[in-house]
Amino acid sequence: MSAPTSAPTPASQPRIAFILKKAAMSAFVALVLFSLMIGIRTEAGPTGQLIYWTRFGDLATLVAATFGGSIVIELLRGWLGPSGAADFIPAPVQSAMAIAGQWIAPALLIFTLLVPVIFYDQRYILDLSILVLTYVMLGWGLNVVVGLAGLLDLGYVAFYAVGAYSYALLATNYGLSFWVCLPLAGLLASLWGVMLGFPVLRLRGDYLAIVTLAFGEIIRLVIINWQSLTGGPNGVSGIPRPTLFGIPLTPGDDGLAARLGIEFSPTHRIVFLFYLILALALITNWVTIRLRRLPIGRAWEALREDEVACRALGINTTTTKLTAFATGALFGGFAGAFFATRQGFISPESFTFNESALVLAIVVLGGMGSQLGVALAALAMIGGFELFRGLEQYRMLVFGIAMVLLMIWRPRGIIGHRSPTVYLKQAQAISSDLVKEGHG
């Protein structure tokens, strides 16, 4: 009597109640969602009338599956304890990963340099690599604004668009070469970065995000509607291809192939574009790494950590924010000019909010502020998206699940820790728990 064996202990009773309650709530949400999506099937009949039939059996199965699944997840959670990277990965593996981390950047760089050599015949892989590198560069550019300065920018695509249209319009209207337009495109984009920066100086967090989002849309809508200048929805076509400092990559007599005395191949241009974007991305990376060690870069990071303390130390937060916007926009503009010359045709459709969201996802997924993380994330996002192509209609589903799992496993991104910009004895990685995410 005094030792009941079958009855649950008092401590586990509320736990069971909680699990059942949660499962019932999940099942209810599933019922509401699926009752129309699955429970009733509608179709247009042969004469245009509405035909519908019910599938309550399928609905019941799914709701039951949700109920059962919720219980299983809660039980698993009870066994595994609170989730965190430390629980899933044993310490030796973590230290091995830290050592591998030191070699991954040089190894990736060497591999990237060799990509055109290894995959010379595979046009698809070369094109994909160029795309990945473009996003690596955009990610590195946005990383200055979001990762270092902690200013959430949802309208980064606007600078990409300004860069692309700057090159396209200057080249088609005035016949300026790519190498003259590239710096101009960057400067124009960074001018727009400053123009965006001014009105949002006092905004923080969600409010800043909304205004930058609106800014991205404004630029796109202006491009669509200013038909006389931009061609509106028809875009700009016939954008000149880049030249190797004046030598065109064409089959003609003055082309590079003829001058070098080798047989012309259209792959030459692809390889050239590959190395061009690689060089641009590496310049972005080099400048960002340099800037982090300069007072301006430290001020960006300090701004992310504590804006009030920055002001108390005599740091002009206005110019600090504006330079962050301008620097990020500069790289976005460069990437835009490259995009225009690679495509040969641009239209407003290439500069939708989706692009901003994708680049921001790359920065967040990579680990805010980490250069290597952003590169890996761009590879995972763009490359991974292509990798799942074989799954056809399940592609987005698998991709979404993969991203959710990655964020559960590493909530602060692939490379979540911060490396100090200056050290006396030894540079120690700073845990992401201490590093702030910025507040505006």
Binding site: R290, I296, E305, Y423
Partner: protein, 276 residues
């Protein structure tokens, strides 16, 4: 008060809507001295600090800062970062505001931002690694090392500031303020949360900063610290000054005792006992 005045506050008033946080406050802080601003909770001390350091724009009154060279600066006309940049007034915060994700060394480097910005030619010289920039950077590191040694944190220079113990964070915040080379250092409750040994070390640090020639304005609740190191004490209650003078005179002032008794008995007893 007839000494060499570094900061003269005249008829300072700060209103927030209908609430008068500071009413017609006048006092002066002498050069190379430690002036303490004390009073019960809610007396308006931090509001005065926020006015001096440009976080609030005072409703009325003037605040004159006189530099060693004789240059007079009207603090009420400057705002936010310019107070630190031009008037060379540095401050710390009641709730520590370090950059927790940056190392102790980086925190001190950020404090030298303005000097380093000039040396880096607004980033452009720094980007190409010009020798002038390199020299400026290494002298900034030297200064940081000097302060890390002085506060006894040289061994933890490469640790994240957020990982340091509470007392170390307090001292690091003072060192960070000192790296801006201030003429006047404003400390908002530097001894809050420190144990006896740590607050004794803090007193020594503040006295050594004073003897190096920096004037200090101090808000403090720890009466042992106030009585030990202050040269001049200003007592506030309900936004007005109720007493002023040397630590001894203030301690025996019945108005001060009443203010503390009215607000918090323990603190009043602390005031009376700290001298005996």
């Amino acid at each position: 008060m007839n000494g060499d005045v570094i900061l003269a506050i005249d008829h300072l008033t700060m209103r927030f809507g209908g609430i008068v946080a500071v009413h017609d406050l006048s006092f002066a802080a002498e050069r190379r001295k430690i002036t303490a601003l004390i009073g019960p909770n809610g007396a308006g001390k931090t509001t005065v600090f926020n006015c001096i350091t440009g976080f609030y724009k005072p409703t009325g009154g003037t605040m004159r800062l006189t530099h060693d060279a004789g240059q007079v600066i009207a603090l009420e006309r400057l705002n936010d970062f310019r107070i630190s940049q031009q008037a060379r007034v540095a401050r710390t915060f009641q709730n520590i505001r370090l950059f927790p994700g940056m190392t102790a060394l980086e925190n001190l480097m950020v404090a030298q931002h303005n000097a380093l910005m000039r040396a880096s030619g607004l980033t452009f010289l720094g980007l190409i690694g010009a020798p002038t920039w390199r020299a400026a950077e290494s002298s900034a590191i030297e200064r940081s090392i000097f302060w890390l040694r002085r506060i006894g944190l040289i061994e933890r220079a490469d640790d994240a500031a957020g990982n340091l113990p509470y007392g170390d964070q307090r001292r690091l915040e003072i060192a960070r303020a000192m790296c801006t080379e201030p003429a006047l250092l404003c400390l908002d409750e530097p001894a809050a949360g420190l144990n006896t040994r740590e607050s004794a070390a803090l007193s020594d640090l503040l006295l050594s900063i004073r003897s190096d020639g920096t004037s200090i304005l101090l808000i403090e609740h720890d009466m042992s610290v106030v009585m030990e190191i202050s040269d001049h004490v200003v007592v506030m209650d309900y936004g007005v000054k109720i007493a002023e003078g040397s630590p001894q005179t203030v301690r025996d002032d019945p108005k001060v005792i009443a203010a503390y008794l009215g607000a918090d008995e323990q603190e009043a007893i602390a005031v009376m006992e700290s001298g005996t």
